[in-house]
């Protein structure tokens, strides 16, 4: 049972961070389908810090790794911000491009670094066996509570406060609902949308590093992040674009994902003879059902995905 809790918390904190990222971007009016790519980039940033600054003390290591992944995530999300806000590009197309680019660029970079060190090493992996020990905050038996889980929870609360209790949050949401109305009362829609996308880069990047450091001590960048960016989109939709619900959904969907990995360890689940793929599929099926049943009164931001046009009414 400890193992199930452990994995559920790991996956839930990743999904929570990335879904919150998507949530900020969509509330500002930009659909961020490139979360998967942003996660890979954030993971890369953190992994590079661990690779090249391996001897840092624990506290500094945590901060440096966080800074690295935030930097990479935010810089990468600029690609979306520039295309969607300045150039009114098709956001679906940009997101798709970013997902493919994220994995390809990370693979090329890591392989090049590995080959430069040792020409026989053609893998796209980065190892961080010792470095990741710094992230453990509390250890009870086999259960490990990492600093990142605490961080995810704190950011969940912060997100709720920012979105619903501050002037910035109100303005951000106004830009996603009706940007022309927001502009008419003096809100700078461009800046707000930039802010939304860059915050999603920050949270997406963090999600990436949490994902790759959680259970393993080496990451192969060729594999990307195995669809977690898309799963986070499902979390965001099921969570109705609201941090509180996103937190709960992340726990639920994280548990499904955990079950798919370790269901064989439980006698009663093993006896049900449900293939692991079903647990992987469930989050998507549930989200699709929710969309089907409740899309008529969906809470999705009304202006998401529509480039802002000043002259439009």
């Amino acid at each position: 049972m400890g193992l199930l809790l452990q994995y559920t918390l790991i996956y839930a904190s990743v999904l929570m961070l990335v879904a919150l990222g998507g949530c900020f971007s969509e509330h500002s009016g930009v659909i961020n389908l490139g979360l998967e790519g942003i996660m890979v980039m954030g993971a890369l940033g953190g992994a590079l810090i661990m690779k090249y600054m391996a001897s840092l003390p624990a506290a500094a290591m945590i901060l440096a790794v966080l800074a690295g992944s935030i930097l990479f995530g935010v810089l990468y999300s600029l690609l979306l911000a520039v295309a969607a806000v300045n150039f009114k590009a098709n956001q679906t197309l940009v997101g798709t491009g970013m997902n493919l680019l994220g994995t390809a660029a990370a693979t090329v970079l890591v392989k090049a670094l590995n080959m430069a060190e040792n020409s026989r090493n053609v893998s796209s992996s980065i190892q961080y066996i010792h470095q990741r020990k710094a992230f453990c905050a509390l250890k009870i038996g086999n259960f490990e509570l990492s600093w990142f889980m605490i961080l995810a929870f704190v950011l969940l609360i912060v997100s709720h406060i920012v979105l619903y209790k501050t002037r910035f949050g109100l303005r951000l949401r106004a830009c996603g609902e009706h940007p022309q109305a927001a502009a008419s009362v003096g809100i700078d829609v461009f800046n707000m949308r930039y802010a939304g996308v860059l915050i999603s880069g920050l949270l997406g990047g963090l999600g990436g590093i949490v994902y790759i450091t959680a259970g393993v001590s080496e990451w192969k960048f060729e594999n990307g992040v195995a669809g977690f960016g898309f799963l986070a989109l499902a979390v965001m939709i099921f969570g109705q674009w609201e941090p509180k619900l996103i937190g709960l959904t992340a726990l639920l969907f994280g548990m499904f994902r955990a079950l798919s990995n370790i269901y064989s360890g439980f006698d009663f689940l093993e006896a049900l003879h449900i293939p692991g793929a079903i647990y992987n599929m469930l989050p998507y099926i549930i989200s699709l059902l929710v969309l089907t049943l409740f899309s008529k009164n969906s809470r999705a931001p009304k202006a998401e995905g529509i480039p802002y046009d000043k002259g439009q009414r």
Binding site: K88, V94, L100, A105, V108, S124, I285, T292, S295
Partner: protein, 370 residues
């Protein structure tokens, strides 16, 4: 009138603009790739980029080059089908990001029928097409009746399809690997026939009639879109579904039909790859096949035109295959994925680019006339 017409620059023609915009995307992609190659190792960068662009011409013996040209064509066929699928839905105002899932389902159904029931190739093909069509239709129904965004529904269905197909095909996989059984040895009747085409490509055993079929389908898609009443109705629905409804068209039926056809194209496309025997499905795949996403790239790079799509699909596959000829001691083959993904990114700017061309040249002409 005549004098005015002469003054129109060729840059104002939509066709010229589209080609120019696509070429700019390609050049920017190649430039970015070249810069990355330079950063990794400056001495071999030019040679590596040349290897990617040469692809099969890397082999100096014509017979060998021809054989690898055949392999590139075999892999272009499914990509072109995905391109057509994206194109078809986009013309009707729908973004079929679910093409990857429809492609996956097509692969799953056709391989399962071929390996578990030893069905002939045409049965597998038709079943794959129907499977893709049903999945596409489901997206269409959700969009038409429940107003579910087709992009989100498509993404969800992509992953549901991937996990289902992995589970299904695990039943027909090789016992020692994660790959499905080889068609050549286990189920040769399911291979698409070559009808002598393979002799044109130094007896490349993967070359089948698929590479001809796919071009015919591209022309057919163009014909349906541009020359038939159905195509006209579909495009009208895409431009403004309320106006289409007002004009007496069944706009909901049109949307669903579009997604069914789009799904059929993607589902059929997968058989062109897997029923040629050139690749086996890996049941341990953790990501949706990139074919559908590359189709998005090729569709936009081809200027959203089926005939343009033939060239852009070939180009994308050409550089993807070319990636395996770079010097593996210094570079890695993923460099070509990098180039094609940068091309996709820049493709989203093509409309802007056309807009700029229009502004510059129309302004010049107006200024000149006064």
């Amino acid at each position: 009138m005549n004098t005015k017409r002469e003054k129109r620059s060729i840059w104002e023609r939509p066709g010229v603009q589209t080609v120019a915009a696509s070429l700019v995307c390609v050049l920017l992609g190649l430039l970015a790739g070249y810069i990355v190659l330079l950063m990794i190792n400056p001495s071999g960068a030019g040679k590596a980029l040349a290897a990617i662009l040469k692809n099969f011409l890397f082999f100096t013996r014509p017979a060998v080059a021809l054989e690898y040209f055949g392999s590139t064509l075999v892999k272009t066929a499914p990509l072109l089908m995905c391109t057509l699928s994206i194109f078809f839905s986009y013309k009707v105002g729908l973004f079929n990001i679910g093409a990857s899932g429809q492609y996956t389902v097509g692969a799953g159904i056709s391989l399962y029928l071929a390996l578990a029931f030893h069905m002939p190739w045409y049965v597998c093909m038709i079943a794959a097409m129907i499977g893709g069509g049903i999945l596409g239709g489901l997206t269409g129904i959700l969009k038409a009746y429940r107003n579910v965004n087709e992009v989100i529904a498509g993404i969800m269905l992509n992953w549901i399809s991937l996990y289902s197909v992995n589970t299904l095909l695990t039943k027909v996989k090789e016992s020692s690997t994660t790959y499905t059984l080889a068609l050549h040895t286990n189920s040769p009747q399911a291979l698409i026939p070559a009808m002598g085409l393979n002799h044109l490509f130094s007896d490349n055993k993967y070359v089948t009639i698929a590479i001809v079929l796919v071009v015919l389908i591209a022309v057919l898609v163009w014909f349906v879109m541009e020359k038939t009443r159905l195509g006209y109705e579909l495009k009208a629905t895409g431009l403004n579904k309320n106006a289409a409804k007002y004009a007496g068209m069944k706009e909901k039926r049109n949307m669903i039909l579009t997604m069914v056809i789009s799904g059929c194209l993607a589902g059929l496309g997968s058989t062109f790859l897997y029923l040629s025997g050139i690749e086996q499905w890996s049941c341990a795949q953790t990501a949706v096949p990139a074919m559908g996403f590359n189709g998005i790239a090729a569709a936009f790079l081809g200027g959203l035109n089926p005939i343009g799509g033939i060239f852009s699909s070939f180009f994308i596959q050409h550089i993807t295959s070319g990636g395996s000829y770079v010097d593996k001691m210094v570079y890695c083959s993923q460099i070509s994925d990098l180039i094609s993904s940068i091309i996709i990114y820049f493709c989203s700017f093509t409309l802007l680019f056309k807009h700029c061309l229009n502004r510059v040249f129309v302004k010049n002409r107006k200024g000149g006339a006064k």
